[in-house]
């Protein structure tokens, strides 16, 4: 299934949905499928600053613990606290209820460095080949 066209992607399998100056961040459907059942998500607190393609947290599945990388630079304005009790939301709804952070973008031009949905789909197709 193609990735949602309205999002931007990293090669580390995170997505960002930009609305005004706020970017909502999560991991892709491909990433959650590769990780398997998610059991824990370690996220920064609201107010923390994150940088583009720098680590912002960790995600743990029954198989592995992986790093989470931010698609954008900015200040965390909101954290999805539902994931503390229900980390499986990341599996069930990676682009919806499984979102992780809302970030106030400090440099909207950074978005141009990210992959489009078509580019991301091609990237994962290459990885699979």
């Amino acid at each position: 299934m193609p990735s949602p066209a309205d999002l931007k992607y990293t090669k580390e399998h995170e997505w960002v949905r930009v609305e005004g100056t706020i970017g909502t961040v999560g991991i892709t459907d491909y990433a959650q499928d590769q990780l398997g059942d998610i059991v824990f998500v370690d996220l920064p607190a609201a107010g923390a600053t994150v940088s583009q393609l720098q680590k912002f947290g960790e995600i743990e599945s029954v198989k592995a613990v992986s790093e989470l990388y931010s698609p954008v630079t900015g200040e965390v304005t909101e954290v999805n606290t539902n994931l503390a009790e229900r980390p499986e939301l990341v599996n069930d709804s990676p682009y919806g209820e499984g979102w992780m952070l809302r970030i106030r973008l400090s440099d909207p031009a950074e978005i141009e460095k990210l992959l489009s949905a078509a580019e991301y789909d091609e990237f994962i197709a290459q990885g699979e080949a």
Binding site: F40, D42, E60, S61, V62, K63, A64, V65, E67
Partner: protein, 443 residues
């Protein structure tokens, strides 16, 4: 060596042949063995071992027995007052009976729950007892020893707080401090030794020892509050036997509690293996180093035990693992499990009280001797510092001639200071004998 294998090896226990070695050297691009080791400076190389010719098994056994006979071991008429981190306590015979069973006699980690339910259950029991003893929420399945457990606790505090300075209180055993420094060197963490709870906002933790290395009680409640108000974790090193009568780490606000488990059913020995106990608050469980055994149910609803949270261990997470601990201390852990099960809560209290009373008796006796003094008010459990009239090393040599292993020489910290340890193993006669010998040495 496998029967029938023909090798032209110069040594029966080194199975590779000259051809094998040639192939390996060619593959790595070295012309000779010497060239392979060229990176090791000459001063660190042994220029050929001067070994005597091989002897028969009988002769070798005699030689080793003669060497062993030169050791002086506590017991059989030799009294020991040596502590400072390793302690001589009574070991009930149940311990050797269970630990010696061949089903348990592999110390290695049981990765396969389908064949290791018994071992995994004993590890789960040890974790449960460690939590009960320390009044903490979760425990791992054991570390190498108390010192490395403290070092791992400091690394863990840095991960939890995302800070990179560690404060170690002066109450902590200097040998433990040295191990913390070693562990801190790799990741580049700073280690400060502090006398109070005055921390800065970049300290990840304050580590204390209760009772302190020199035997006194520290004000753990105040230090714990000080650590928390600086946003740091409070790490406590506890003597597990002392918890029979003193407050456990959970009671005074420890976020991480560690202990040397040797006291619990394992003999004092030089070089180990020992056992590190490690427990923490539930909220930090994902940063807990080492292995954790969990209890679960199988498809048919039966209770089963498995290694859990392995995703944080090095065989899965490589260099980002919470710890690089490899060896399982399971056999020593089993001894501690059987020990605690045998003595129980009441027994632990009685052992602790026996240590306390005997240590106080010894301290008063020694303080009354000419030339010796003990700060009686500082004595809290089983160890105390004696200020001696002469160099401790000299005194200990004389004591040894009389069948007494004296206390630890702490004259690097206190002038002519001897750290004396008294446990339930020291009879009244031994304590009186020590006092008498000390009095004679002083004359």
């Amino acid at each position: 060596m496998p029967r029938g294998r023909q090798v032209s090896s110069p040594h029966p226990y080194i199975p590779n042949t000259d051809d094998d070695r040639r192939t390996i050297l060619d593959a790595v691009g070295a012309g000779s063995i010497d060239e392979l080791f060229a990176d090791i400076p000459g001063e660190f190389r042994i220029g050929g071992l001067e070994l005597p010719p091989a002897v028969s098994e009988l002769d070798l056994t005699r030689e080793m027995s003669d060497l062993a006979a030169r050791n002086v071991a506590a017991g059989n008429g030799v009294a020991s007052f040596l502590g400072g981190g390793s302690y001589r306590h009574f070991i009930p015979s149940t311990v050797a009976h269970v630990v010696g069973r061949s089903e348990y006699y592999t110390a290695y980690t049981p990765y396969q729950p389908e064949i290791s339910q018994g071992t995994l259950q004993t590890m789960f029991e040890l974790q449960s007892m460690t939590c009960e003893l320390m009044e903490m929420d979760v425990s791992n399945a054991g570390m190498y020893d108390g010192a490395s457990a403290l070092a791992e606790a400091c690394l863990m505090a840095c991960r939890v707080t995302r800070r990179s300075r560690v404060a170690v209180h002066s109450s902590v055993n200097p040998a433990y401090l040295a191990v913390v420094r070693t562990y801190a060197a790799g990741p580049g963490l700073a280690v400060d030794v502090v006398d109070s709870g005055e921390l800065t906002s970049d300290h990840a933790c304050l580590a204390v020892q209760q009772p302190a290395f020199l035997g006194e009680l520290i004000d753990a409640w105040s230090l714990s509050e000080a650590a928390h108000s600086a946003g740091a974790l409070f790490v406590a090193v506890a003597d597990p036997i002392s918890i029979g009568m003193l407050a456990p780490p959970g009671d005074y606000g420890a976020d991480i509690a560690v202990a040397e488990g040797q006291s619990l059913g394992w003999a004092v020995n030089f070089g180990g293996p020992y056992l590190g106990l490690f427990a923490c608050r539930q909220q930090y469980v994902r940063q807990l180093p080492g292995r954790i055994v969990g209890r679960t149910t199988d498809l048919e609803g039966r209770t089963g035990y498995v290694l859990t949270m392995q995703t944080r261990e090095q065989h899965i997470r490589r260099e980002r693992a919470t710890s690089n601990i490899c060896t399982s201390q399971q056999l020593v852990g089993l001894a501690a499990t059987v020990y605690l099960t045998t003595v129980g809560k009441q027994g632990l209290r009685q052992i602790a009280e026996a240590c306390y009373h005997k240590a106080h008796y010894a301290a008063r006796l020694i303080d009354g001797l000419d030339g010796y003094s003990v700060e009686l008010g500082r004595l809290s459990f089983k160890e105390f510092v004696v200020r001696c009239p002469r160099a401790v090393a000299e005194i200990n040599r004389t004591l040894l001639e009389r069948g007494i292993i004296g206390g630890l020489d702490v004259s690097d910290q206190i002038e002519n200071g001897m750290l004396v340890c008294v446990t339930e193993m020291n009879s009244r006669e031994e304590i009186v004998g020590l006092a008498r010998a000390l009095a004679e040495v002083a004359r």
